[in-house]
């Protein structure tokens, strides 16, 4: 190759001048092309977390039930009965914009591998999606491809997609977010880690063959889009869910033996990051012979093989005497199996191809001296709380507008494309409860799963928004009766080299950390996606809304006792929590007054915990027939959703004095729940005893939502409006 390797080439690989100098110091010579490639991906934002690490370190990660926190392929928590839940959320934002179907599909495949590589059988997928303005011409293409891609991969691989969330906002027009979460179950004493050990042990490659897929995806995923994105398109990765299914079964079969020393999936930066991380964590060296790597295309270079992001591949270190047994298992499942190297005591990664040493890099400095930046920050002054503006339209008009708006419209068009019940363990599907409930095989346990974030709150006040995302996830799990255990985070932000973006990032983490600590809800895994920006034709960088998506997991002792939101007939409705009428940044303000202003709702973490613990105790005591938290759209939307879920109507009492009526019904106050109970009196006196604010809202009966002033809307009309948006948006029934 006649390429000159210098700082300029390094820059085109994404390394700054300072980083290239550091590389030269470590190597003591000019690197080879393959070595430069290895450094550039390992030191990319995606693999090194160089801008985010100083802030991530402040998040709480420990609790008595946490088995493995951040640092492994996924987080692991104890759920009792000798079992562990393993889960993580990861972004596939940039690939999903370039090729929505394959981008979303391979996002699902990648996060599945992160989970089963630890020995867990995947039992559920969730997806947090943010799309551009529904009126923007390109949005439909992305929604269509992403939803089909998630369904295509998830349905084929036989893992149910049980939940998630969707928002629309113009800030995502050129940069949608696709955050995929997988949850798996393993025996707590059978967790597989990635630290390699045993000098001389074979390094084994399994799964699909290596092609020139997505080369430099890891560095691309950290580079903001510009108008040249079209020409920068690398070969897109194409997923093959049937191979993934075989890989899951083969790995789990091998894991039932004790042949594996260490295992890691090949995700972003493929063979490079898996080999470097396994050897680095184990404090050993690794030698790879690329001639042995199963290849899909002829004449691949060492650089291409080391950086390929071909899907459905894993790297393992095996006990040498068990290699043939492992080979038999993988060949039975018709997967490639190749011994591609061995562990050494050199402390280096050595890559040999066609008899030539293409790379020889000391591992310790590659990891230890990876750049870490404490980037400059500017903290924006949070906006003031606003007092409720006058109501221009009335309660009924606002109700019908809000339940039909893109952010609140029924998502059934989406989840009907997903297989939500394959495996037969989905106790509560999307839309049936605040969190999905998945039964754990062989036990009565249920996992409660949710993803949450309100990006418009984060934009207005990143700290409050970060705390709110965690609090809402905790609340959604609580509303089903489950105990919230832990969190995985997927932090989607703009360009960290801009101080105002870095300020958003740091503030959001502060808010998340506060909430996690107050709620005993540690972060056990996560992923950071920066540079989510598009450049306008005038050259102005436009960042997405700060979106720290939270995926969360809870556990309920008996899945059959979980609570949904469908309101049964002839029950009292009780509000738990205090409504102050928070209209700042509310959907009412946006959809009715066409304003996005003011401070987001106040977060009171003490009240959050107190109210939530009360609600859970009431559920456990059997006093709750349905429960739904207050979130987007406020109390009226909460009630309307409970009505739509069952078709049973209600008669509401007049709202309290001292608050504008529309602020009471549409304020997005936090730490609040609506409960359906047989007897409001008993619930109210229990609340009083527990010093939890509560009031009776009304009674469920009939088939219409009725207010004291005479307003009446039938459940079927609500449903009709609620379900109209998606089919119309996607051009169906036209």
């Amino acid at each position: 190759m006649t390429v000159t390797i210098d700082a300029k080439l390094a820059q085109s690989f994404g390394l700054t001048g300072g980083e290239y100098d550091k590389l030269l110091t470590i190597m003591g010579r000019t690197p080879s092309f393959a070595e430069l490639g290895i450094f550039s991906v390992m030191w990319s934002e995606h693999c090194s977390y160089k801008s985010s690490r100083v802030h991530l370190k402040t998040l709480p990660t420990k609790a008595p039930w946490v088995i493995h926190g951040p640092g492994e392929n996924a987080g692991v928590v104890d759920i009792g009965e000798g079992l562990a839940a393993i889960f993580k959320m990861e972004s596939h934002n940039h690939p999903s914009f370039i090729e929505p179907y394959q981008g979303a599909a391979t996002g699902v495949g990648g996060i599945l591998r992160d989970v089963f590589t630890m020995g867990a059988r995947p039992v559920a997928n969730l997806n947090a999606l943010r799309f551009g303005d529904a009126k923007h011409s390109g949005t439909r293409r992305v929604v269509d491809g992403v939803v089909r891609g998630i369904g295509g991969y998830g349905n084929c691989v036989g893992v149910p997609t049980v939940g998630g969330e969707v928002n629309f906002h113009k800030a995502y027009d050129g940069n949608p977010l696709v955050n995929a979460m997988t949850v798996g179950i393993a025996r707590k004493d059978k967790i597989f880690l990635s630290a390699a050990a045993g000098i001389g042990n074979p390094v084994v490659y399994v799964g699909s063959k290596t092609g020139r897929d997505g080369i430099h995806g890891a560095t691309m995923s950290s580079a903001e889009f510009d108008d040249k994105a079209a020409s920068k398109r690398p070969t897109v990765q194409v997923g093959d869910p049937f191979i993934e299914k075989l890989l899951i079964e083969a790995c789990l079969e091998l894991m039932a033996t004790d042949a594996i020393v260490a295992i890691q999936d090949m995700g972003a930066a493929g063979l490079t990051s898996s080999a470097v991380e396994m050897a680095g964590k184990g404090g050993v060296g690794i030698e790879l012979n690329l001639d042995a790597v199963p290849q899909r295309e002829p004449n691949m270079t060492a650089y291409e093989m080391m950086l390929s992001e071909s899907q459905e591949r894993m790297l393992m270190v095996l006990k040498p005497e068990r290699t043939e047994e492992a080979r038999r298992i993988f060949e039975k499942w018709e997967l490639d199996f190749a011994i591609v190297g061995k562990l050494t005591d050199s402390g280096h990664i050595t890559v040999i191809h066609n008899g030539v040493t293409e790379a020889n890099i000391p591992l310790a400095p590659l990891a230890d001296e990876a750049p870490i930046y404490n980037r400059p920050m500017v903290h924006a002054e949070p906006p003031r709380h606003i007092s409720p503006p006058a109501d221009p339209v009335g309660i009924e008009h606002a109700l019908l507008t809000l339940i039909g708006c893109p952010d609140l419209a029924s998502r059934s068009w989406i989840w009907n494309q997903y297989d939500g019940s394959v495996g037969g363990n989905t106790a509560r599907r999307p839309g049936a409860a605040d969190a999905a409930i998945v039964r754990v095989d062989g036990t009565r346990l249920g996992l409660a799963l949710t993803t949450d974030c309100t990006p418009r709150y984060c934009q207005a006040d990143p700290k409050a928004g970060g705390a709110q995302a965690v609090a809402e996830a905790w609340r959604n799990i609580t509303a089903t009766g489950a105990k919230p255990l832990a969190v995985t985070d997927n932090l989607n932000f703009g360009n960290p080299e801009r101080p105002e973006i870095m300020g958003q990032f740091a503030d959001a983490i502060k808010g998340m950390g506060d909430a996690c600590r107050a709620l005993d809800f540690p972060v056990v895994s996560g992923n950071v996606s920066l540079y989510n920006e598009t450049r306008s034709p005038t050259g102005l960088a436009q960042a997405i809304l700060p979106t720290p998506a939270i995926g969360a997991l809870g556990v309920i002792a008996d899945a059959s006792k979980s609570i949904g939101l469908a309101m049964p007939d002839n029950h009292d409705l009780v509000l738990v929590g205090e409504i102050r009428g928070e209209l700042g940044q509310s959907l009412w303000l946006r959809e009715i007054c066409h304003k996005e202003e003011g401070a987001p709702p106040r977060i009171d973490l003490v009240a959050e915990r107190h109210n939530g613990d009360f609600v859970r105790a009431q559920i456990e005591a059997g006093h709750v027939a349905a429960c739904h938290d207050i979130a987007d759209g406020g109390l009226m939307i909460t009630i309307a959703e409970m009505v739509m879920a069952s078709g049973v109507g209600c008669e509401l009492l007049a709202p309290p004095h001292g608050l504008p009526i529309h602020a009471f019904w549409y304020g997005e106050d936090q730490a609040c729940y609506v409960i359906a109970t047989k007897n409001a009196k008993a619930m109210l006196s229990a609340a009083e005893k527990a010093h939890v604010p509560a009031r009776k809202l009304g009674h469920s009966k009939g088939t219409s939502l009725k207010m004291a002033d005479g307003m009446s809307v039938s459940a079927s009309r609500l449903r009709e409006i609620n379900e109209a948006f998606f089919p119309k948006f996607m051009g169906e029934g036209a």
Binding site: G211, D213, V236, V238, I243, E297, Q311
Partner: protein
Amino acid sequence: MKIRVYVSLKEGVLDPQGKAIGHALNSLGFQGLGEVRVNRVVDLDVPADDSSAAIAKGEAMARALLANEVIEDYSVEVVA
């Protein structure tokens, strides 16, 4: 005028369908196969005065619908 639009996956893009076919052929005894790629042919009858106008129409249709340019290549020829 009749035109034919060929659509194929770009070189290097994984073709799971081709892979499955190759695998099935192998198990039927057709051994020693290299890579199998599945492509698509679309025949169209377009209103056009001459070949170059017909081909231009075919290319426009390929870009708009028939091919996903991110992962697929296309070519157009006049058949009759």
